[in-house]
Amino acid sequence: MNLKEARRLFFKLRSENRIDVCEDHVIGGHPERGYSMDEVVSLVKGSGRLQDTTERRFVGDRFYWRTKDLQENAVRLVVEFDEDNAGQVILVISAGERT
């Protein structure tokens, strides 16, 4: 999936509230910020920019959602697209600082 398609899908899915957050979303991210799961959902719904990942360890269609938290800290979420029996969904893998 290219970035343009991913952006279109991301905005469509978030407008439909089709978001899943991994239980271990802070692992490898920024645990001291301790985002609760509902904060992660609000980060996905905030303003930001979807970008390609640059890390080779990420296999498949993974993207960065770059946004800011309540305290204006830059946050980088790693997201991928998956699906359940109702269709596609944004899966938030991690939520941490911008690196």
Binding site: V21, D24, E39, L70, Q71
Partner: protein
Amino acid sequence: MINRVKERLYRYKHALGSIVVDEVEIGVSAKGRRSLSAAEIDRLSRLVVLSYLKANYRKAIEATEYTLTASEVRAVVAFLGVNQSEFGQLVGCQKSKVSKILRSEQQISKSQALLTLERLAMELARPGSTRKLLGDESITVRDADDSLVRELNQMRYSSAA
């Protein structure tokens, strides 16, 4: 592919406390990754907020001095779905003060803490009402289910007794 499975006695952790719920729908991906859907997170967060209000509402009214920690305020702001300046509008203070509260450089006053709890109760009873109050006309305000509203009323009534 994410499979949705029911899990019993699930512990949900939140900045306002943690709760154990009878049943939760967990998503399990092909790689074994466990997730919660936004709808399920919303439901569980509402239960946490209710439990938080029940534990603190009366205490806040009766205490001579009462404040909220920075992490509590942050969790409330996130739950209400507002930004710092909107939160300031809701509790009657400047954005700069909200910013200091969130950085633990200043404390929220008792009257503002009480108003914060009222805003929480309002949003819990009528989801979407906070954004509506701030002038967002695109929001449809819903009514929470009757049992939750009953519990909120009971909490208020017992506090007044």
